[in-house]
């Protein structure tokens, strides 16, 4: 019911993307959200709390989107293909979330523990990577490598398809998955 709270969240997201998190003053967020500064701090103890809430809500969105379509019973190739496609579908339809995450990722707010917590939420991905490794499908049998390799490639591809929506076809998405897959798997 808290309309003001939501207004603050929406405005903060927009301003963080436009100007960066550190460069966005809480006073500006409040002003553009049409509330008093005190109201912002009534709902969020600190600016950092506000950032974290946005960060978590984005992962809520992504994870719930993926879990709706993810098939635990499929084989490794299928599952990775699904994850890849769903990530890109979600990313290109939640552009502002992607921009926020890119602002956030290498930002000082993103403590190691926050990143760890985020990784933990993607257990179904991690399980798939582990399964792939244990089946000796991967060129490198280090979970950390496999995970980071996936994350950096999917980030790059999502950003690419956002920049080039004209190329964002199923066919092209499949092609990018092949690039990912052909690279990482054993011949």
């Amino acid at each position: 019911m808290s309309t003001k709270r939501e207004q603050i969240l929406e405005t903060a997201m927009r301003l963080f993307i436009e100007n960066g998190i550190q460069s966005t003053a809480t006073a500006l967020i409040a002003k553009e959200a049409g509330v008093a500064t005190g109201t912002l701090f009534h709902h969020f103890k600190t600016k950092e709390d506000l950032v974290h809430e946005l960060y978590n809500s984005i992962f809520d969105s992504l994870i719930s989107y993926q879990k709706k379509h993810f098939d635990e019973e499929a084989d490794v190739y299928e599952k990775l293909h699904q994850i890849w496609s769903l990530d890109i579908e979600w990313g290109t339809t939640h552009v502002e979330y992607v921009h926020f995450l890119e602002r956030y990722s290498f930002f000082y707010y993103a403590s190691e523990s926050a990143i760890d917590k985020a990784h933990q939420r993607f257990d179904y991905c991690m399980n798939t990577f582990e399964q792939a490794i244990s089946k000796e499908l991967m060129k490198i049998d280090d979970l950390e490598y496999v995970r980071d390799h996936y994350i950096w490639n999917i980030r790059m591809n999502i950003i690419y398809f956002i920049k080039r929506p004209d190329r964002c076809t199923t066919e092209n998405i499949d092609k990018t998955f092949e690039i990912y897959w052909n690279g990482i798997i054993n011949d």
Copy 2:
């Protein structure tokens, strides 16, 4: 050539890496460099200028390192392999530069024009990508894709080998190049 100027640059690099660029006050840089705040602004018109000078000197380092070993006459596979290996060699032996670049990349200081200028300096890389595309070696014939795909993957790998210096062997570096190459090329 002034010693003070160099002290400022070194100290700034260290502090930017430790705390982030935006979170590092010029007053602190001056203090830790053992100079007056006025001296810092005597040598660098603005904080942004200081950041840019560091940024450019890093690419000077990387480019001169690569040009020393790069063989323009080799074939595409060879050239990309060279660039890949040289990037990782340079990255793992210039850890602080890598950390600085990661701090800088997604930072608001990095304007589009700064990024474009940087890309231009890597003409020998771009030429190689173009050559590969024109020879129809790549799964996707879009220069921007090929370039970004390379950049994100090399960044990911450099950071990985910095985190895991024990795994930073020629054999493993070659294996990661195979992951890159097998992914991006046509079958």
Copy 3:
């Protein structure tokens, strides 16, 4: 008579003692008392009112304690001895009240008029001081001096006996009264 009202008073007293009056936020009092902030302001028009109510209730306690044992008919020495001992007895058994008064005394809330009003309530003490002066018992025949001299000495002694409960015996209390009495009276 409301329980909530009493919870507020008790919690406020505790927090004022722990952190000082000005440093204790009304929101914190409400929270620790388990009531809403609105409830606090329903029972006390302002924070200052709450402080005053505590202040007055403490003097209610002290004065009623003393009046129960005070003998108006005794001679000056006896009466001052009684007041002295009763003050120390009350103080060492109402430690939190003492702490509150010490927090309050030099605090900006304590206006001159509030202090005057408090002095007026201790008419039986003032009468005794006047009696002592008119009988030429005191080294200085200025009521203000006699009063302040008593107040500062009794405060000091109460605080001392609170810090050193092991020394708080009738014998020691009597000894401190002798210090007071031998000082102020004419030889």
Copy 4:
């Protein structure tokens, strides 16, 4: 040479006395001192540092005043008489310092450690108290009691003589010392 620094100190002292320490905003101090807020924080890292500097400079004044006249070789009675008279002379001629100390003493800024440090600076007083106790001159042979008893009485007397400058004669000061001395010493 730092005129601005001194202006800040003088203005702060005045405003702290007038309105209390906590109720005086650093912005107001800067404004009334005719400097920018940044200047205040250039000279004093925090408001607390500013308060401490004032506090310490006051004790510098008192201690240097007393040491100029204090005779280490005199007997206990003489030495205490000197300290007493010098305290009152200093207090009535440095009224604003006294007011500041009264504002400060029971204020949350005055940590136990700050109070301890202050006590340590008055070693010549403490030595005299110890000497008096070891000669069995005092009714109570507890150094803490003797010290606090002195402090509270001298504070009370200084404030009294400030309020009543007409009564501040050598004769009256001597009389108040007799009140102090006759009280505390053994018969």
